[in-house]
Structure formats: structure tokens, C-alpha cells
């Protein structure tokens, strides 16, 4: 048995956990792992969000510190039902609670990695000229901020999924099933996550007075914008 420690000092225990241990926690009807993951998402993503936002202003730092964990949690919840249905259909017979916990576990790893990157992110923000009235979306400083911060998020996401794959493999017993489930979950989470991100924008800089959410949060969507940009480039 792999007992789940009661205190938050178990972060390192969580980070070092083998898939067998994680699988045993997941199977148990114990909500502590879920709460732990939610806490890890908040504790990990909030500082990174603060770093992202503080390039623009300290208030924006506070806003993004709230928005980034919210984005992760809303994505997990929004796709919880779908992920729970897809898992058994693809050969992994786990319950809704277990599938939600598995996704949260992967997000918790990603958030903790992001949290660990926060000082590095802060260093980069410190060294980048802050936005001014002359700053435009095409400004090199803004592009550098976007690129660096997104690279960190992508890296954290990869780590989270690399930790989720062995767990799924252990639960499924088959490598192919684990891969299929991971791919389906990833596609769904990416699809919904990017749109929630769009609704909760701005994260780094918005070019207008600081606000929690932009003036038209539900205007347009991520994919339409990408499509329009592609159309402008190609035609």
C-alpha cells in the first residue's frame, strides 16, 4: 500500500511517486489526492501567472495569478465528463472520478514545474523593457515575452504528460490503450483549454487599461483568429 501523506510537505513525495504508487492512490476512493492536486495547481500556477502579468503591471500580475490556475481547473472540469466517457471507450476502464483525478495529477505536475520556473520567468521579465504606450503587438519585447513564457508552459505540459503516460499504462495494462487515451485527453484539453484561455485573455499584455478580463471576452474564438490569420497570409 502507498499511503498518501496528509501534509503538504509531501510535494516531494508526490513528485517522486512511481506510477504504481500513483495508481494505488488513484484507485482508492479518497478525495485527498484531488484536493492535493487542486492545491498544487493553485500553488504552482499562481506564481507563474503573477510573473507573466507583472511585466505589464503588478495588478495584472495579481489577475493572472488568479486566472492561470482558473484556466487549468476549468479545463479539467469542462472536459471531465468527456474524458470520463472516452477512457472506457478506448479500453481504459476507469471511473469518472478516476479519470478526472488522473487529468488533475498531470496538471498538478505541470503546475509545479511552472511554479519552479517562476524565478527564471521573473528574471526574464526583469530584464525585458516594460510595455509602454509605444508598445505594439509586433514589438520585439512583447514577442520575446510571449515566446519565453509559452516555451516554459509547453515544457511543463510535456513533463505533466510524460508523468501521466506511465500511470495510464499501469492502469490500462496496455501501451497502445494508454497512448490512445492520452492522445484523446490531450486533444480535448488543448481544444477547450485554448478557448478558455482566449476568453480569459489578456495574460501578458493587452494594450489597454489593466482589467481582469478584456472588454469583449466572448468575441471571436482562438481557432477563428488563427484561421483568419492563415487566410490573410495565404490569400
Amino acid at each position: 500500500m502507498h499511503p498518501f501523506p496528509a501534509h503538504l510537505k509531501s510535494v516531494d513525495y508526490f513528485l517522486r511517486a512511481e506510477p504504481e504508487g500513483l495508481g494505488a492512490w488513484l484507485v482508492r476512493r479518497d478525495s485527498r489526492l484531488i484536493w492535493f492536486c487542486i492545491l498544487a495547481v493553485v500553488v504552482g500556477a499562481a506564481p507563474y501567472g503573477a510573473v507573466m502579468g507583472c511585466w505589464w503591471s503588478p495588478l495584472q500580475g495579481l489577475y493572472v495569478a488568479i486566472k492561470l490556475p482558473l484556466l487549468v481547473l476549468l479545463t479539467s472540469l469542462g472536459n471531465g465528463l468527456l474524458n470520463g466517457m472516452l477512457a472506457p471507450l478506448l479500453g481504459l476502464n476507469i471511473t469518472f472520478r478516476q479519470s478526472l483525478t488522473a487529468v488533475l495529477v498531470s496538471f498538478a505536475y505541470a503546475a509545479l514545474v511552472l511554479g519552479a520556473f517562476s524565478p527564471v520567468g521573473l528574471f526574464i521579465v526583469w530584464n525585458t523593457p516594460p510595455p509602454s504606450l509605444a508598445t505594439e503587438p509586433s514589438s520585439p519585447a512583447y514577442a520575446l515575452m510571449q515566446l519565453t513564457l509559452v516555451v516554459f508552459i509547453a515544457f511543463a505540459g510535456v513533463v505533466g504528460n510524460l508523468r501521466l503516460l506511465p500511470l495510464l499504462r499501469q492502469l490500462a495494462g496496455k501501451r497502445s490503450v494508454a497512448r490512445k487515451v492520452l492522445f484523446a485527453w490531450l486533444a480535448g484539453n488543448l481544444f477547450l483549454g485554448s478557448q478558455i484561455c482566449w476568453v480569459l485573455r489578456p495574460f501578458i499584455w493587452g494594450g489597454h487599461p489593466v482589467s481582469f478580463i478584456g472588454s469583449h471576452p466572448f468575441q471571436g474564438n482562438f481557432y477563428e483568429t488563427v484561421f483568419s490569420a492563415l487566410r490573410r497570409v495565404l490569400f
Partner: protein, 259 residues
């Protein structure tokens, strides 16, 4: 020194024939598959986690209650998803879209049922009509359940865009994914019916998808709005899609294609 011409040994040819796929494990061999499906929740659980249980139950005598139960859940789920589709335009579409989606799905199933039965018989399958109806209901149940899973995503996008074309494409994508899982369930069940070939089933699947897609055009508008409940002009779905995609190559969307 001998000049005898030596014939090289023949290249060994491997008469590699793919080993025939092992026959599927007969239905009902596991005790849990023989457990009766007693309520709607049990039916939902079974179709998601124990599809073989549904396959086994519909081939037992008197599957009528189970089929009816599944059809009721299909109607409920498609109505719920229809409301989500209707939130894009609101107003009349809040009731029109659910009615069209639930009605369209059932009419599609009814239209395709005879051809399914004929193809099944022609393939040498031993499935009875009641079993075919049960499997079709199971297929629709799985598809509509998955649509419910997609509903939160669909709702978020429907609040974020003005483009009917975009929303229509998104709903079609979700429907295609859900239907693919439904058809996979049907194909797995079909493998237990001692059919000689899958050609008939594959043909029927194409017919089902085409009918369903044409139904979305015949019952338009499901996503946007119009002056009349049903269209005044008859159109093939490809022509309709072409008309919808035209404004995307122009700079500003036409008013008809925005909500």
C-alpha cells in the same frame, strides 16, 4: 576446374498468409454480461463500460423494454445537446434546434433501419430484427452520450463566435466523432452475429452517415436562424456547405451567416 553451371538454390518464398483473426469471445460467457440492465443509469453505465452486456441483452428474448429505455435516453440526450446548439441563436432556436436534432436523429434511424436489416440478412448474419433495433438504439445512445460530453465545449464556443459556418463545422466535427464511436460499437456487435462479410455493414454505415448529414441540410437552420421553421429551398448537403463556405474567402461575413 569444372565449368558446371550451378543453379542457385531457389529463393525461399514465404507463403505468408495473415493468420485469420481469432473469433470473438462469445457473448454471455462472463457472468457480468448476463446481469439485467434495469434502469436508465445502468443502461448508460453499460454502454460506456460494458458494451458486451448491451450486445448480450438485446439478443435475449423480449429486449423491448431495454430498447425503449435506450431510445428514451437518446431523445433526452439529443434534446439537451439541442438546447446547447440553440443557445448560439437563442429565441426560437432554443426549442427548434432540440426538436430538429432529436427528430432528425430518430427519422434518420428509421429511414436506415430497413436497409440495415436487409444488408444484415444478406451478409448471412443470424441477428433478428429486434436485435438489430437494439444495436441501433445502443449505437445512437453511445453517440448522443458523447455529444453530451462535448456539450460544455460546444456551449463555450457558441458564446464566443458570431459565425454560423464555424459553429456548424464544430457541431459536425463533434457529431462525426460521436458517431464514429457509435458505429464502432455496432461493428463490434455485428462481429458476433456470424455474418460472412462486413461489406454490407460498411456500405450501410456510409448510407447512415450520408442520410444523417443530408438530414442536417433538410432541417436547416439548426444552428442559425431563418424566417421559416423548415427551408423553402431543397438542396444537397454539399451544395449547402459550399454556400456556407463561400463568405469565408471574402473579407466580411454576410449577415445570413452570422447570428
Amino acid at each position: 576446374m569444372s565449368d558446371t553451371y550451378r543453379v542457385p538454390p531457389p529463393i525461399p518464398t514465404l507463403s505468408v498468409r495473415p493468420a485469420p483473426a481469432p473469433p470473438p469471445e462469445p457473448l454471455g460467457t462472463r457472468p457480468e454480461e448476463r446481469e439485467l440492465i434495469t434502469g436508465p443509469i445502468a443502461a448508460v453505465e453499460a454502454i460506456l463500460r460494458q458494451p458486451r452486456r448491451v450486445m448480450y441483452q438485446v439478443r435475449q428474448p423480449g429486449p423491448g423494454r431495454l430498447i425503449l429505455r435506450m431510445v428514451c435516453i437518446v431523445i433526452f440526450c439529443s434534446l439537451v445537446y439541442g438546447v446547447v446548439v440553440g443557445t448560439f441563436s437563442n429565441g426560437v432556436q432554443l426549442w427548434a434546434a432540440p426538436a430538429k436534432i432529436a427528430g432528425g436523429l430518430l427519422i434518420t434511424a428509421l429511414i436506415c433501419l430497413p436497409s440495415l436489416y436487409i444488408f444484415t440478412c444478406l451478409s448471412g448474419s443470424q441477428a433478428r430484427l429486434a436485435e438489430i433495433c437494439g444495436l441501433l438504439a445502443g449505437m445512437l445512445l453511445l453517440s448522443t452520450l458523447l455529444l453530451i460530453g462535448f456539450a460544455p465545449v460546444a456551449w463555450l464556443f457558441s458564446q464566443s463566435t458570431e459565425s454560423v459556418t464555424w459553429m456548424g463545422a464544430l457541431h459536425l466535427l463533434f457529431w462525426f466523432i460521436a458517431t464514429a464511436f457509435g458505429l464502432r460499437f455496432f461493428a463490434n456487435a455485428y462481429a458476433h452475429s456470424q455474418a460472412r462479410s462486413q461489406v454490407g455493414l460498411n456500405t450501410w454505415m456510409c448510407i447512415f452517415v450520408l442520410v444523417a448529414v443530408q438530414m442536417t441540410t433538410a432541417l436547416r437552420p439548426i444552428v442559425g436562424t431563418a424566417k421559416t421553421f423548415l427551408p423553402q429551398e431543397k438542396k444537397f448537403f454539399l451544395a449547402h456547405w459550399g454556400d456556407c463556405l463561400k463568405p469565408l474567402t471574402q473579407d466580411s461575413p454576410t449577415p445570413a451567416l452570422t447570428r
